[in-house]
Amino acid sequence: MIFGLEFPSIENIVEWPNFLFKDSELFGFNKIGFIHFLGLVLPAALFFIAGRQKGLVPKGVRNFVESIIDFIEEQIILPTIGAEGMRYMPMLMSFFLYIFIANITEVIPFFQMPATARMAGPLVLALVAWVAFIAVGVKHNGMGYFKSVLFPSGVPKPLYLLVTPIELLSTFIIRPFSHAVRLFANMLAGHILIVTFAVLCIGLWAAKPTVIVELLTFPGLIAFTAFEVGVSLIQAFVFTILAAVYIGLALHPEH
């Protein structure tokens, strides 16, 4: 209870009841699951419609989709992996679009909840990236990949006592969690911020003597909502480019 307002507790703003398979612990399907479903359906529909258009000159939906492909290629793959990274386009494209859809529902009416403000989604994606970069490293460098990461060249041998445990922790243990938490925490913080301002608006509107304060809280709510649109895009980009950087480092661990 703050200033006569009862703010919702954290479980009230991030936990959603199952509406399908209600009693199943594994298959319980709630709003978060539905947002993830949209993360599959919307990009798939968009790309499917774009792929059906013929002709050399892209127009309409295909133009938009090719812009996304160009963005992933020019802003993520080429700077971090190089031309050989184009084979990872499907995975990186999936990361970007899936996360963006899961993020942007934060500001979509009737959803107003980013699926990435729950740890499950970011953790799954971070583990996929983790498995992917280790697999790429082993595929291209054999078991020498682990040696080149844990025992970087140019380091005096006594320092391996210090460097190797640090590299082991940072690259193979902490990295997937930092990757996941970076996305999760950003989106959860944004969600709490918007909820806080929304609660303030509703509460202060109900308590009429304080309606003057509404003049500050409502524009604040609008501003933070607009801000979260940018955050949704940036966090999708950051997660994807980090995954690409990890893959690039695994391809050429000597760098």
Partner: protein, 194 residues
């Protein structure tokens, strides 16, 4: 979610889960204790997130991206081919331009050569005409000089005869005798020649 404003102007939010729980008279143990750690993932959300992500990845890899990437590749190839063709046309144009320039240069040299030859011929012809004119002028001048000398000599001879006659007549009248014209001629000639 419902909002209630109490008599003390307090705003209370009530959530579906709470209402549902109150109706059932049974809170979950977790909610009762307030132990909710948002960092701990729910197993059902992990399942659906993984399922839909892998489905999207598979669709992207085998269904959705290939036609778009093929279209992009086809367009890039056509652009590359058109650029190569344009490069070939550029090369042809360059060759034609250099041929044209070479022909223009040869024609210019030939024209210069013709002009120089014509100029030399004209100069030679001019010199010939000049020489002929000079010779003609010299001939005319020589002829005129001869005629002048002849006229002068004639005039002198005529004047000599007239002066001799006058002098003989005058001297005859002074002395009152007829003087022989032939006899005095030598004196007259000596006076006139001096």
């Amino acid at each position: 979610m419902t909002i209630q404003v109490t008599l003390d102007n307090e705003v209370v939010f009530r959530y579906a889960e709470d209402e549902h729980s109150e109706e059932d008279g049974a809170h979950s143990e977790e909610a009762d204790e307030g132990i909710v750690n948002p960092v701990i993932p729910e197993i059902n959300e992990i399942f659906w997130a993984a399922l839909f992500f892998f489905a999207l990845w598979a669709l992207m890899k085998w269904v959705l991206l290939p036609p778009l990437m093929a279209g992009r590749e086809e367009r890039a190839n056509k652009i590359r081919a058109a650029r190569d063709a344009a490069g070939s046309v550029d090369a042809d144009l360059g060759e034609a331009t250099s041929n044209y320039d070479a022909k223009i240069s040869a024609a210019r040299e030939e024209a210069n050569s013709i002009v120089a030859t014509a100029r030399e011929e004209a100069d030679a012809h001019r010199r010939e005409l000049q020489a002929a004119a000079d010779a003609e002028i010299a001939d005319l001048r020589a002829s005129a000089d001869g005629e002048l000398a002849q006229a002068r000599a004639n005039a002198l001879n005529q004047m000599r005869g007239d002066v001799g006659d006058l002098a003989v007549d005058a001297a005859g009248k002074v002395i009152g005798a007829d003087l022989d014209r032939q006899a005095q001629q030598s004196i007259i000639d000596r006076v006139l020649n001096s």
